[in-house]
Amino acid sequence: MIINYVGVKEINGSLIVMDGVKGVSNEEIVDIRLDNGTTRQGRVVQIEGERIVVQVFEGTKRISLKNTKTVLTGHPMEMPLAPEIIGRVLDGAGRPIDGLGDIFPVKRANINGTPINPVSRVYPKNYINTGISTIDILMTLIRGQKLPIFSGTGMRHNDLAVQIVRQAKISGADSSNFGVVFAAMGVQKDVAEYFRKSFEESGVLSRVVMLLNLSNDPIIERTLTPRCALTIAEYLAFELDMHILVIMTDMTSYAEALREFSSSKGEIPGRKGYPGYLYSDLASLYERAGMIKGHSGSVTQIPILTMPNDDITHPIPDLTGYITEGQIVLDRSLQGQGLYPPVSVLPSLSRLMKDGIGKGYTRGDHQSLANQLFASYAKVIDARSLASVIGEEELSPVDKKYIEFGRLFESRFVNQGFNENRSIEQSLDLGWELLSTLPRGELDRVDDAILDKYYKG
């Protein structure tokens, strides 16, 4: 028997409170029918006896205390899944909006997922060749990794993500197994359109699932978007054995939606008003990357977030950095110099690269080269700050060499064309070519055998 609960008790932001509800379960989905005939969905977020708090995904606009009839659906938020989902365009809550009709589900899965058992994980080791020197050499992307792009408003993070998708596709030996899940959270229509067009141009559109929650779409729906996206990604990767790249943009909008929801629920705020569970919440998304024993597929995540005020210590990039396996940080001053991709090398990092590069993966000298480039570039920064005080003319000859190295490093190694696809050998050799402009004695991170082979100074 289906019971209709008429009316609500309280409305506050995106939350409605109902009384006298029996047999409701935590996190259950409810259908709310307005008397104008439209239906909205909501989720039970708190229960106190017969009083429940429901979060309405589409917002509470036009809901009054009297005009609703609510039905409990009896199940938590589920995503219909089928192989045909590839190539579809969905809204932020996973419902098709491309006019091609509903998805006939092969199975349904709870969008919250369940944690992967740590002993079932495969330690990711296969690198993804992105054809971008800075990423391939210094912060190698590994299949099954979560590597966010820390950016700021107005920087070219979207171009970078598009370039990664386009070039990573070509290099994989099993490129037929490759797919992209793209989750847009609170981005503008043009940005979503740019991604769609770029996917189309590079011929991957038929392998992309797009979930669009645009900036004017309901905020609460935004908290579901990444969960739906990852549920699809897990299905494709671990049941259809595909290699899935998940691009989530913009995580900052997601976190802000979470904050709005938390404050309307009256929760005690943590740092900068974000809820105290922001870390756990972000982790429940990011940790859904990886590889599992017995399955050949993988979920690789590239979340994009814009750092408010370019501040890397802001809670969102800060907590993200503690969960993800490294980060690619973009820098405004590099972008200002016209360099693309404006990757700020020193704070960027890939935690998984150490086991996925070197002999048998890329080339034996890769780790040493990367260490040396980091160390030498760090000295460039020191030399520059000294030069800004005493002037470049007054620097010691070695420091001058560093300044020159820094210039070359940025203009030739970091800087690269949007359509330029460098092979790993090209990038490695370029690295050695640049290091060879420094005196050999300065290269203290590399042992002599490797220097003998590659140093050409």
């Binding site: 005690i268 943590g270 940790e287 210590t313 950095g321």
Partner: protein, 585 residues
């Protein structure tokens, strides 16, 4: 008794029961039809509040809540080592067998293998009087760890029956003990202990033996004692986890307990893989033979994350009581503190600093106080060393978790962003870090490595101090204008930084360096410094020495001189002397 305790309200991981009658504070309970594990955290007239260690999706008001009559406890017995548990001691391998690659809720698996046969040797006979903590039997748990079965610390009495030596399962009775009230207790291969209570010891001992880690910056500049406490704070990407892994791999404790508290899943799979491949240099056995892993990754339930630290330390204390030296790594305690904050927020408690509950410092103090070296009840000596990583928000060391941890730990290994950016690992900042164990440990260093070791150490740190103040000037005017004697300090400090403090975890020899070699490296560096000082004093330009390449050579000696070849250092000293002497002529 009929169970009429049912769920009234649900808010995230917190569940309330209305008018419950029989619960105790901190009692372990089962919630709902799936028997999710929970713990009673508050009781009022009207409501009992329970934190649930698993996802609460799908729970309904009216679902049953049953008490277990005992506080949250862990099962202690053979089978702990070489195992991997979640935050409340459920073996993840058994969960995988039961529910596949993803962790389902309400997994009902026994903490330890109940069917495995252990080869037990009985150590007591009928008529013996046993006190709490005394050993009544032993069994080989792994090829290198002998598991010693001890009487529950709260029990004592006379042995009335023993079984013959042989193979027994976990819950088989191997002896019977009659206590002073005439009640008989069956002694099996296991016992239970509440995780939030520390296990008793006979007497606490001073921390006078170092925990040798093979990491130069730690052993030499900031040593930690067996039974000591240390904090490793650092922002993301500064190498906290790497440092913890290095310590877990190489420190000379008998047993390692590695708690991944809110860790990354991929990192745990890395630990699993690496540790099973690595061979312990002392025993020639895989590292896993002495390691227990507790993995509560960041997406696993937050309440179990809070418990994982206590589970870890309780297992540690259990092995300490057998007379082992245990080292526990907790990565990261900030995630644990955040779990406290999250649950406190759900309880609508009044927050103190940055939303953390006011009891944060006392919880941290309780935890770190459980470390220590002691005479244990079973007779020998054991210790638990606690090394906690701290992940300060925004890399700001003034935040509450770092500050409070600082108060209760005696070693502070501060990781530094700029060192990490230039890939100087371990990125332990030598100006900010400290160890309070010098006074306790210096006698040991003097006895085992000679007076020199301590002397070299203070010379090295003096040089680093001096360099740091000189760098203030260099930053403003460049190093060219400095007089030669100051340039020499900068040059030697560079050798110390790059050649000594920086250590390559991926290099076969450099990843672990014995104390003897550490001492000789310091000796050689200081020898070159002393001899070059003579050059400068004779007004010969420093650049002449630098041209000889001696400084560069010493920077690379960590790679060029293999471990266990101390005689090569003599050649280095000879070469230095010859070169300097010829310059002085």
């Amino acid at each position: 008794m009929e169970n009429n305790n049912v769920i009234y309200g649900i808010n995230g991981p917190v569940v309330t029961v209305k008018q419950a009658d029989c619960f105790e504070m901190m009692e372990m309970v089962h919630v709902g039809h799936q028997n999710l594990v929970g713990e009673v955290i508050a009781i009022t007239d009207d409501f009992t509040t329970i934190q649930v260690y698993e996802e609460t999706t799908g729970l309904k008001p009216g679902d049953p809540v049953t008490g277990t009559g005992a506080p949250m406890n862990v099962l202690l017995g053979p089978g702990i080592i070489d195992n991997i548990f979640d935050g409340i001691e459920r073996p993840l391998k058994a969960i995988e067998e039961q529910s596949g690659s993803f962790i389902n809720r309400g997994a009902a698996v026994s903490s330890l293998d109940e069917n495995k046969l252990w080869n037990v040797t009985i150590k007591v006979k009928v008529g013996d009087r046993l006190e709490g903590g005394q050993i009544y039997a032993t069994l080989p748990e792994t090829p290198i760890i002998e598991h010693r079965l001890m009487v529950h610390p709260e029990l004592s009495g006379v042995v009335t029956k023993v079984m013959p030596d042989g193979e027994y399962k976990l819950f088989d009775t191997v002896a019977v003990l009659k206590d002073d009230n005439g009640i008989e207790h069956n002694l099996t291969l296991c016992q239970k202990w509440p995780i939030r209570t520390s296990r008793p010891v006979k007497e606490r001992l001073a921390p006078s033996v170092p925990l040798i880690t093979g990491q130069r910056v730690i052993d030499t500049l900031f040593p930690i004692a067996k039974g000591g406490t240390a904090a490793i704070p650092g922002g993301f990407g500064t190498g906290k986890t790497m440092t913890q892994h290095q310590l877990a791999k190489w420190c000379d404790a008998d047993i390692i307990i590695y708690v991944g508290c809110g860790e990354r899943g991929n990192e745990m799979s890395q630990v699993l893989e690496e540790f099973s491949e690595l061979i312990d240099p002392k025993s020639q056995r895989p590292m896993t033979d002495r390691t227990v892993l507790i993995a509560n990754t960041s997406n696993m339930p937050v309440a179990a994350r809070e418990a994982s630290i206590y589970t870890g330390i309780t297992l540690g204390e259990y092995y300490r009581d057998m007379g082992y030296h245990v080292a526990m790594m907790a990565d990261s305690t900030s995630r644990w503190a955040e779990a406290l904050r999250e649950i406190s927020g759900r309880l609508e408690e009044m927050p103190a600093e940055e939303g953390f509950p006011a009891y944060l410092p006392s919880r941290l103090a309780e935890f770190y106080e459980r470390g220590g070296r002691a005479d244990v009840l079973s007779g020998g000596e054991g210790s638990v060393t606690l090394i906690g990583a701290v992940s300060p928000q925004g890399s700001d060391f003034s935040e509450p978790v770092t500050q409070n941890t600082k108060r209760f730990t005696r070693c502070f290994w501060a990781l530094d962003k700029s060192l990490a950016y230039s890939r100087h690992y371990p990125a332990i900042n030598w100006m900010e870090s400290y160890s309070e164990y010098f006074n306790d440990l210096d006698p040991w260093f003097k006895d085992n490595l000679g007076e020199d070791f301590v002397k070299y150490r203070s010379e090295i740190s003096a040089l680093l101090q001096e360099e740091s103040s000189l760098m203030e000037i260099v930053k403003l005017i460049g190093s060219d204008v400095l007089p030669d004697d100051q340039k020499l300090v900068i040059e030697t400090a560079r050798v110390i930084r790059v050649g000594f403090l920086q250590q390559n975890a991926f290099h076969a020899d450099d990843t672990f360096v014995p104390l003897e070699k550490q001492k000789l490296m310091m000796k050689t560096i200081l020898h070159l410094h002393k001899r070059t000082k003579e050059i400068v004093a004779n007004e010969i330009p420093l650049s002449k020495v630098i041209k000889l390449g001696l400084f560069d050579k010493l920077t690379k000696m960590k790679y060029d001189i293999p471990n266990g070849k101390p005689e090569i250092f003599d050649d280095y000293i000879k070469e230095i002397d010859e070169n300097i002497d010829s310059l002085l002529k």
